[in-house]
């Protein structure tokens, strides 16, 4: 489903975020990407979503070379990927319902169908009762769950999360991890970039460990 072939990504003025990385992820896998801060975990996820382009090598997603996609084709790739960003990227002037609604508005869903899906996604992450709340009024764990709801509302086949349990207390982190595992259990291919490998490693079908941009395992 996802394949990296000798992928490198270099940032000016010559910093190698990834060097000659190759791996393959099959459909329905739960993959843990771990490594120290600055190891290249976020860059790897960005390459899959074509937020970044590889300097060398090929990134294939469902057989499509995403590094070579034209700008006009990128939106359609991203609509089929669920992404939970490290900084969540929630819109703080919109309530929880409106934040989760955004991907469906972009995809052109009717308000009725979109409303159903948004409530289902909020229900799944335990935030249905807080649909009118602004993100600022939510706790760190709730904001993380809101970001997950927004990532899955489009029912993507691939869900990528970047440090989903960072800055959360152990109980809340466990709760978020449980939600992610639930999505994996219904067939979603799940990529989790996290330094908290103890939380996810027991369930991972594959573990990619990065060190200074190189894949070590």
């Amino acid at each position: 489903m996802i394949r990296f072939e000798h992928v490198s990504r270099r940032y000016p003025p010559g910093i190698d975020a990834l060097q000659d990385v190759s791996f393959e992820i099959a459909q329905g896998e739960l993959v843990l990407i771990d490594g120290h801060s600055g190891a290249g975990k976020t860059t790897l996820l960005k390459l899959i979503a074509a937020i970044e382009r590889p300097t060398n090598g090929v990134v294939l997603v469902r057989g499509q070379n995403v590094g070579a996609l034209k700008a006009a084709a990128l939106p359609y790739l991203r609509r089929n990927l669920g992404m939970v960003f490290q900084d969540q990227k929630l819109l703080f002037d919109r309530n929880a319902f409106e934040n989760v609604m955004l991907p469906l508005s972009i995809a052109g869903f009717s308000p009725r169908e979109a409303g159903k899906r948004v409530r289902a996604a909020l229900d799944k992450v335990g935030l249905l009762a807080r649909e009118k709340a602004l993100p600022i009024a939510l706790s760190g764990g709730e904001q993380q769950r809101l970001a997950i709801a927004r990532a899955v509302v489009n029912r993507p086949s691939i869900l990528m999360t970047d440090e989903p349990t960072a800055h959360l207390d152990p109980e809340t982190a466990g709760n978020v991890a449980g939600i992610l595992r639930d999505f994996h259990q219904v067939g979603v291919t799940l990529l989790i970039a996290s330094y908290d490998n103890a939380l996810f490693a027991p369930f991972a079908s594959q573990r990619l460990t990065l060190r200074h941009g190189k894949l070590t395992s």
Partner: protein, 303 residues
């Protein structure tokens, strides 16, 4: 199709909401656009009214005309032949025969010439035709005069060319001024919209970034701003229309009083329906253009 309409509806609604979100800023922008567009629109209105004033002022009818004076020995048959030629002439809108007797009678009724004419042994006036041409441009009238000069029994052709030329020159000057004003102040409208959209893009930067990451196309991102620019332009056009209407209403009475002193009956007219439609289309179009230029400049950089 439904999704496309839905997205346009949402973009339109968003633009309205953004305009309503900061009423003071919106009002100031609309006043600036309204004044900028009211100047050329008002110029056009004055031009139309000046033409009406010119055509109805002065002694009698001053619609450009050509007078054909026949030779003194021209008989009725010759006059009838000329009348027939004028009637069938494609470039002649209307012609009127004035007999020498009619002219004499009119002159005798005047205070100054009655005694002089009474002393003359015979009627000194020739038969004449007053011709209204279809095209009253100076060139067309000059051409007609040259043609009439060569007709048999036509002694003299008189053309009020000075009047026609003055009127034509004034109108050309007025039209050029209106076009220049429209171009300059239209540029101002584009600049106002450009800046407003830039500020909107800055305000919505986070949403634009997130939308793109979630799969928004360029059209999806740009559409609300296009609506915003066009709506702001249209509303500014509406403000300009109201300003012109207000000015024409306020000036109506003084202009009518002034016109009366020139023996003219003038009612100051505001913009016609077609002029109003052009004003609104121009305002909306320039707003859209300002938005397009701003998006091109600022969204490109934010990508």
């Amino acid at each position: 199709m439904n999704a496309w309409l839905l997205q346009h509806g949402k973009a339109f609604k968003w633009a309205l909401q953004r305009l309503a979100a900061s009423p003071a800023n919106t009002l100031l922008s609309l006043i600036a656009i309204g004044i900028a567009l009211a100047l050329p629109a008002g110029g056009q209105m004055l031009l139309s009214n000046a033409l009406q004033f010119a055509r109805s002022s002065g002694e009698g009818n001053v619609t450009p005309q050509i007078s054909l004076f026949l030779a003194l020995d021209a008989d009725k048959k010759a006059a009838d032949q000329i009348a027939a030629r004028l009637k069938n002439h494609a470039a002649v809108k209307q012609s009127r025969f004035i007999s020498r007797e009619e002219t004499l009678k009119r002159m005798q009724s005047g205070e100054n010439l009655a005694e002089v004419l009474a002393a003359l042994p015979r009627n000194p006036f020739p038969d004449a035709f007053v011709v209204t041409p279809g095209n009253d441009s100076p060139a067309a009238m000059e051409q007609l005069r040259n043609e009439f000069r060569n007709w048999p029994k036509v002694e003299h052709v008189q053309l009020d060319s000075a009047w026609v030329r003055r009127l034509d020159a004034m109108l050309r000057l007025g039209r050029t001024a209106v076009i220049l004003l429209t171009a300059l102040l239209g540029l101002g409208l584009v600049a106002i919209t450009f800046t407003t959209i830039r500020l909107q893009i800055l305000t919505q930067r986070a949403e634009i970034e997130v939308s793109r990451l979630l799969g928004a196309t360029d059209s999806f991102v740009r559409r609300p701003f296009y609506y915003f620019g066009a709506l702001q332009g249209l509303a500014g056009g509406g403000a300009a229309w109201l300003i012109v209407l207000g000015v024409s209403t306020l000036l109506g009475k003084p202009v009518a009083d002034l016109a009366e002193l020139y023996n003219a009956n003038v009612t100051l007219q505001s913009l016609t329906a077609s002029e109003s439609a052009i004003l609104m289309a121009l305002a909306g179009g320039l707003g859209w253009l300002g938005a397009a230029l701003s998006l091109r400049q600022h969204l490109h950089h934010s990508r």
